[in-house]
Symmetry: C2
Subunit: 238 residues, 2 copies
DNA sequence: CGCCTGCCGATTGTCGACCGTCGGCCGCAT
DNA sequence: ATGCGGCCGACGGTCGACAATCGGCAGGCG
């Protein structure tokens, strides 16, 4: 039997309505198109999308469990508001997962190390392209792709799941502040030393690179002198 | 105005129906009262509890996101089935979080160390009591309380959230196998050395204690010669 | 004049019903 | 006998409607 590339139409809208709604809302939140604290009324969204409230409700519940929305009893959900300590928590948790994943990759021997290195180099190339284009959203998205790829290389799906939640929260913070990219070159370099340490199998250097990178990133987000956003809307409360 | 201890009636059924259902089902799964692979039809549960399908549906969705149930498109949900590699993933992820939490506690200085040590000693005492009673369910529950307490002492709510999911999965595995407690004394000792290393601030010893403890526990769960459960029902598939 | 109390609009929590889809069984053709 | 296609029961996904609950505001009482 001929192969007849039918596999290209494998997926035929294989998503439930609630999942698609959740996906869209998630993207809107991540991209900063929804202001922190903004109320999301089920009925309004349902009417806007021309669906019933039930799937909207399920989508909102998903996002609440991903900590992108907060639910108040009988008062609906509103977009999450990140405080400085939230940001430190997020980066601390990311550090926990990334460090462990890096260690496990090194434990996996040269083969696992090589595969992880290759994947990371590919993402780094995409990061170069995004930087050249200058699109903030894309840059931060690819940046997180890099770290997600590192975690995924450890081969533990539960770590990936946990990390994806933190990743979404991180992107939300970054895109809200529209923080200036730390010179671009710096971003490439920081990820470069991480790859080098991984390729060389230098555990201490690798863990230090991860820790430093995340600490620097968290500082940028919590320090008040973030550039951009001149409209007086504060990126962080309190 | 007099204080008039009204604070004692603070909570007046402050839970939504779906949350209570989720709580109950979660407990049933954790305690092994639901067989792996068992189908959970929404309508049946709804009728059983004399509520509508809506809150049942929300409860099920919560548990799916906690990885205690698996959802199949248009085929409802069924109780999760853990493979050996799942168990390794769970313990690996737990190791990631616990190790990091332990490190952060040590970073927090002597004060944080002392607070964490006190909390852990209290749980260890509860563990002794549970061991004396010989109730398997309670022993494993308190065991996980110990580890949860360790993570909580790091003061990062996101780590606690992630850990609670892993904790529930771990308990489910343990209670399904009804694995024989490794002599009881051994359990106390393993946690004891962990506390000692923490109290002494010996980072390397602490991390090694956590890693060893989790590795041993995972081995017990995945090795086929687990005692108990003689009814031919396999605790793990494949 | 300030605080408490009762009402009001808005929104959620819950309900019962309909429709589409899925997996399994039966019958038929080969 | 076997492989295939079509039917069938069951279940989930979705919908519109009802009622309970909450925050805010106006009015009354001290």
């Amino acid at each position: 039997m001929a192969v007849s590339g039918l596999s290209s139409l494998k997926t035929l809208e294989r998503k439930s309505t609630s999942d698609r709604i959740a996906e869209d809302l998630r993207q809107m939140i991540i991209e900063g198109r929804l202001m922190p604290g903004e109320q999301l009324a089920e009925a309004r969204i349902a009417e806007l999308l021309d669906v019933s409230r039930a799937p909207v409700r399920e989508a909102l519940q998903q996002l609440v469990q991903q900590k992108l929305l907060v639910a108040a009893r009988n008062r609906g959900v509103s977009v999450v508001t990140f405080t400085a300590s939230d940001i430190w928590e997020i980066y601390d948790a990311r550090c926990a997962i990334e460090s462990h994943a890096a260690g496990r990759i090194l434990d996996g021997g040269p083969g696992a190390r090589a595969r992880a290195t290759d994947a990371l180099r590919a993402v780094l190339e995409r990061l170069r392209v995004a930087l050249k284009q200058g699109d903030h959203r894309k840059i931060s998205a690819v940046d997180l792709d890099f770290h997600t790829s590192l975690v995924a290389s450890a081969g533990n799906s539960r770590l990936v799941d946990a990390y994806s939640i933190l990743s979404a929260q991180t992107l939300t913070c970054i895109n809200r502040l529209e923080i200036a990219i730390p010179s671009g070159e710096e971003l490439i370099d920081e990820h470069g030393v991480l790859i080098d340490a991984l390729a060389a199998g230098e555990r201490e250097a690798l863990l230090k690179a991860i820790n430093d990178h995340l600490t620097v990133a968290a500082s940028h987000l919590t320090s008040p002198q973030s550039q951009g956003r001149t409209d007086g809307e504060p990126g962080l409360p309190r």
